[in-house]
């Protein structure tokens, strides 16, 4: 019988061969799908916390994320069969006029690791596209990223468009180098995360609110 702690450790270490092998063994052992998923999400939470404590760099998180992705591919059919879906859908993108996407990509990676279904719209995304994607995918959260002070107005316009559309239950969170908690409040966003790892906790919090 596979010890799920070993699976979590393999994911956290970024050992994708071992992680995939253990996932397949766990499936053969007919371990509960939810427990397998929880082990994987727990591993990503753990590496995220290590990152927050400056114990690892981003490459270590990315390698762990790849290991999780490959394990998830093996687990996916079992989850479907068991009726287990992602926690919810999150749409993410960099606002109109801004092409920077490193931060946005890191947040998307962390959200996927937390078992959110992530729709990544890329960079230079108009308010209309954000709204359309949120409706189309039934998103609970939209994440906006901006690196430039000159594109902060586009962030404000996007928040206005999303809030103005009154999509039931939809939350908007923002982040990026020039963004502050104060700015988030000023433009009516539901939350602000200073880094990628905090963005997971933030979304869990605003969705639960």
């Amino acid at each position: 019988m596979v010890n799920l702690q070993n699976l979590a450790s393999a994911i956290e270490a970024g050992n994708r061969v071992e992680a995939t092998k253990l996932t397949k063994q766990a499936i053969e052992d007919k371990l509960p799908a939810k427990e397998m998923l929880d082990a994987m999400v727990g591993a990503m939470d753990s590496i995220g916390r290590k990152f927050q404590r400056n114990e690892v760099f981003v490459p270590e998180m990315l390698i762990a994320s790849r290991a999780m992705k490959e394990s998830m591919a093996a687990l996916e059919p079992v989850l479907v069969k068991a009726g287990i879906k992602p926690a919810f859908t999150a749409v993410i993108g960099t606002v109109q006029g801004d092409l920077h996407d490193i931060g946005k990509n890191l947040v998307a990676m962390m959200w996927k690791g937390a078992n959110f279904a992530v729709v990544d719209l890329g960079t230079n995304v108009s308010p209309e596209k954000f709204l359309e994607a949120a409706r189309q995918h039934g998103a609970r959260v939209v994440g906006l990223s901006a690196l430039l002070t000159t594109t902060m107005p586009a962030m404000k316009q996007t928040v206005s468009a999303l809030k103005g559309a009154k999509v039931p239950g939809l939350k908007v969170v923002i982040g990026g180098a020039p963004i502050t908690e104060e700015f988030a409040k000023e433009i009516g966003a539901d939350g602000f995360a200073p880094d990628a790892a905090s963005a997971v906790d933030l979304v869990r919090k605003v969705v639960a609110a």
Partner: protein, 465 residues
């Protein structure tokens, strides 16, 4: 246009001795229209500024022009009051201005006219640098060699040069499609592919055009920067996302890419945010702009003093036009730059020994505290420059720069001259192993990389691949 620009490959250094790599003096100084001689024994302030948060659109055009008029008027007045002997002003456009060249041209004219007035009335000698945005990346995958974005970028260069901009620069982005992911994965092979295969090919294409344009307009082909590469690495390291040793090695490799502008006819001053400029000054002998402590308004860094050690113009990178207690921010930063330059110029006026003493203090105050500073010391810059020019092609230059930088960092740490964090040390071995594992032949390397990079992110034929 491009066929007329011969490519110069540097096989030797213009500055071989670290005692000759110093602020204010370049073997090939540059004389501007109003008689500033950059690299001729004096360091000049280079002021840069940007708008506060405002949508750059037609409805705000009048307000935007008013802001630029106010910025330049106040800055020039203060430069005269402080008796600055010369000034470089950089107008780095915002993307909508490159998209609408007539806006950039109009603002250029506002700045150029004010600078001409200050020269006529007060004798203030100045030169205007125009830096359009590399908007080619606004299409994904980018169209690097044709299309509306490319045409508008060239139109911005041409129109702004005709309107009075004298120095032509850009922060080009060729290779960034692969480099961003390479940084977050700390994948040095992919970094070398992005900079020394993709980047250099784009630089050759771009800079033959810019140099041709400069010659047609009677302007100066100044230089590029690997800002989107080396400075992205620096910012990621500052945010503790990647190791500083990795950012330091990336910096060394960026010199291979930025060098191509000079091979294609650029003559400096290299763009301020290219911290690799100390390496490029050693190779080319052209004057360089640098930024450091006085650019904290734009971004933080670990190289605040050491960056000034080899500068010929000293820049604040960018500051928003907001009110501070001392006045509007660009005016305040102009004043800081003037005082920084006064000090360096005072040392220069006292002769070689004094200027080297100040240079060494600036170097010593930073170099032991951060690997990114360590690779920028005059000694390191010359060592990396020598490794670059010793190789026969860009790929091998990139590998050599990386390995030399790793070696320098290792020696620095071993000798107790450089502090490297414990969790960063294993990256030295990883980087060395990564480079030593790359194929010997460039063709084999390209073939290997084309199998693993995301080909959806760039158009290979736009890079001649």
């Amino acid at each position: 246009m491009s066929e007329n620009i011969p490519l110069t490959r540097y096989a030797a250094l213009a500055i071989n001795n670290e005692q000759d790599l110093c602020f204010g003096r370049a073997p090939k100084p540059l004389r501007t229209r109003r008689g500033i001689v950059i690299g001729g024994g004096e360091v000049y302030p280079e002021l840069n500024f940007t708008l506060p948060a405002i949508s750059v659109e037609q409805s705000n055009h009048r307000e935007i022009c008013r802001q630029y008029r106010q910025i330049i008027s106040s800055a020039l007045t203060r430069a005269v009051e402080l008796e600055a002997s010369g000034l470089v002003v950089e107008f780095e456009t915002l993307p909508p201005m490159t998209e609408n060249p007539q806006w950039a041209i109009e603002i250029t004219k506002i700045l150029a006219d004010a600078m001409e007035d200050a020269y006529a009335k007060d004798g203030l000698r100045s030169a205007l640098r125009i830096t359009p945005n590399d908007t080619r990346e606004f299409i994904r995958p980018p169209m690097m060699r044709s299309g509306e974005k490319w045409e508008r970028m060239l139109a911005t260069f041409e129109g702004c040069a005709a309107a009075g901009a004298e120095l032509l620069s850009i922060e080009s982005v060729g290779g960034k499609e692969v480099h961003d992911d390479a940084l977050t994965m700390c994948d040095l092979g992919a970094v070398i592919f992005a900079l020394c295969v993709m980047g250099v090919r784009d630089m050759q294409f771009l800079w033959t055009h810019v140099t041709g344009m400069a010659r047609e307009q009677g302007a100066i082909s100044a230089g590029d920067t690997a800002c989107g590469f080396g400075n992205t690495a620096m910012v990621l390291a500052e945010q503790k996302l990647i190791p500083r040793v990795f950012a330091a090695v990336v910096r060394a490799v960026t010199a291979v890419r930025s060098l191509v502008a000079y091979e294609c006819g650029a003559v400096g001053p290299g763009k301020d945010c290219g911290y690799e400029n100390s390496i490029l000054k050693a190779i080319t002998g052209y004057p360089m702009s640098m930024e450091g402590k006085t650019a904290a308004c734009a971004h933080l860094s670990r190289v605040g003093n050491i960056a000034a050690a080899t500068c010929d113009t000293w820049s604040n990178e960018s500051v928003q036009n907001v009110r501070l207690l001392g006045g509007m921010a660009p005016t305040c930063y102009l004043e800081q730059l003037v005082y920084d330059c006064r000090l360096m110029n005072r040392a220069l006026s006292h002769g070689r020994e004094s200027s080297l003493m100040l240079r060494d203090w600036m170097v010593e105050s930073d170099e032991g505290l951060d690997p990114q500073a360590y690779v920028l010391s005059p000694a390191s810059a010359i060592a990396i420059a020598r490794a670059i020019v010793a190789e026969r092609d860009y790929y091998h230059s990139g590998k050599a720069a990386a390995l030399r930088a790793v070696e320098l960092l290792r020696e620095g740490a071993r000798g107790g001259r450089l502090k490297i964090g414990a969790r960063e040390m294993p990256y030295l071995d990883r980087m060395q192993h990564a480079v030593e594992s790359l194929p010997e032949a460039e063709d084999a390397f390209i073939g290997q990389m084309m199998d693993v990079v995301d080909l959806g992110k760039f158009v290979p034929k736009d890079y001649g691949l």
